[in-house]
Amino acid sequence: MSDTQEMVNVYIMGESYMVPDGSTIIMAFEYAGFQLKKGVGCREGYCGACATVYREKGDYKLKGGLGCQTVVTDEMYIAQIPFVPAEKPIYDIDDLQPDTSTFMELYPSVFRCVSCNTCTKACPQDIQVMDYVQAIIKGDIAGAADISFDCIRCGLCALRCPAEIVQFNVATLAQRLYGKYLSPKNEQLNIRVKEVEEGKYDEEIKNMKNMEDRALKDLYFNREIKIS
């Protein structure tokens, strides 16, 4: 940062800090001297580890976002949510049916949804969270898996839900059921698995394990990709 860098005042866990304007929330934390061991991950908006809640000057609404993607504003109040304690029943995917009854049993809170849409507004991924909860209620499990596809499990939806639904874990179940029971099966996969089991690639893997770093990288970047 140069000497002419504009600074803004933010409140981290209630304490005032001056940080460079244009910083993301994660950058602001670190500039202020925090060492983050939890509540930070990929820093690229993919992993969902850095859920943050904040309030901006002059706005009464509590907002949520990813710390690595949200830029600070002057007089912003910030608190990290490094972990969301959330209901997570144990199940064996082989014993389940891909329909509404499974959710009635494992996540009955789904059926308390009052359609307030607060979850959708809390989602940093712009997912229509309420719509996938409602899709489950109406028996459209494939739809729920599709709508929730971009979920990164930050947990902000569940924290804001007045019906205490654990949307992100519900989405995981919908996606698992879709993958296991509802998605079209690819015949090629079975053929390839059989080839692997029969040792068709053993020799090639063995060679690669013995390759120099550089040669292995070259092999990777020059590989041929076939799209059928």
């Binding site: 359609s115 307030c116 507004k121 109406k138």
Partner: protein, 300 residues
């Protein structure tokens, strides 16, 4: 009167899961009597069972959100009737109540619209209409003219339950002496019987964890129907249908001498009388198999 009513249709969750036969029969029969049901492109729960506490505004979010989607359909020219058609008695009651409340209370309307910030406001232009009401509007005599397979000699108990008749300002007919379902039964050529249990409680949600209550009530209702000469019961409520139809399994376990009785969605009778194919009647979805009765009457 328009020749063809093209109307926003709100299904509700049950019609998409355990009452698919209700939906398919209503849609297909509707086409024959001038009702084109256009499902809301986006919809959520009806908001079933409004809270009885005084500060319950949150529970009205769901219905209001559905009305917003119906208004959008009108603006986009997807329909020629701007009301919302509902089949399920429970959804009908819940949504009509909420609509009435916000239309008559501008503060509640504003609170809900404010809460939905960033989304479209509800303008209060939608009215809720039940399938029975729409048929009455078209005219039961007009519907009778379209019947190709009159349900001759079939004696039907018209079961209103609670949600179509109470409270008074939600009711689709006179709360104490309704005739709308009987008029429908006559229009399809069947014979409506007079009975006492037409609006007696089916036990509602007690079916989840107090099955004994439901078993006793359902048995009483079915026996009253039989005593009054009925051969089958019709309803427009998936919960009543479950309690009266599926719970006959438990009634039989308690009383092996109990004589079962088929329970139909009213739209199934309409579909049969209009000569629709079996796939649009959905008899597989009925727990007590109605086929023997229908065969006896030469209807299938």
């Amino acid at each position: 009167m328009k020749d063809n009513i093209k109307i926003p249709y709100f299904p509700g969750c049950t019609l998409k899961t355990t009452a698919k036969n209700f939906e398919i029969s209503a849609i297909e029969a509707g086409k024959k009597i001038g009702i084109e049901m256009v499902e809301l492109p986006k919809w959520n729960c009806c908001g079933v069972v409004s809270s009885l506490t005084s500060d319950d505004l949150m529970k009205h979010m769901a219905p209001i959100r559905n009305f917003v989607h119906a208004e959008e359909m009108g603006e986009q020219g997807l329909v020629n009737d701007k009301r919302m058609l509902i089949l399920c008695s429970m959804c009908f009651n819940t949504m009509k109540s909420s609509n009435k409340r916000v239309k008559g209370n501008s503060e509640d309307m504003k609170s809900i619209n404010d809460f939905m910030y960033l989304e479209k406001d509800y303008e209060g232009t939608v009215d809720v209409v039940h399938y029975f009401e729409l048929m009455k509007e078209i005219g039961f005599d007009k519907i009778a003219e379209k019947i190709t397979k009159p349900l001759k000699d079939l004696k039907i108990a018209s079961y209103y339950g609670c949600m179509l008749l109470r409270p008074k300002d939600i009711a689709i007919d006179d709360t104490e002496a309704p005739t709308i379902i009987e008029d429908f039964v006559s229009s399809v050529g069947a014979e409506p019987i007079a009975w006492d249990a037409m609006s007696r409680c089916c036990g509602s949600y007690h079916t989840v964890n107090n099955t004994d209550i439901v078993v006793n009530l359902a048995k009483g209702i079915i026996e009253n129907a039989r005593k009054s000469g009925a051969e089958a019961i019709i309803t427009s409520c998936p919960l009543c249908a479950f309690n009266l139809d599926n719970r006959q399994k438990l009634i039989l376990e308690k009383d092996p001498n109990f004589k079962t009785m088929p329970v139909f969605y009213f739209t199934q009778l309409l579909a049969i009388a209009l000569g629709l194919e079996e796939e649009f009647i959905g008899l597989d979805g009925n727990y007590i198999d109605p086929r023997p009765l229908l065969k006896e009457k030469n209807l299938i």
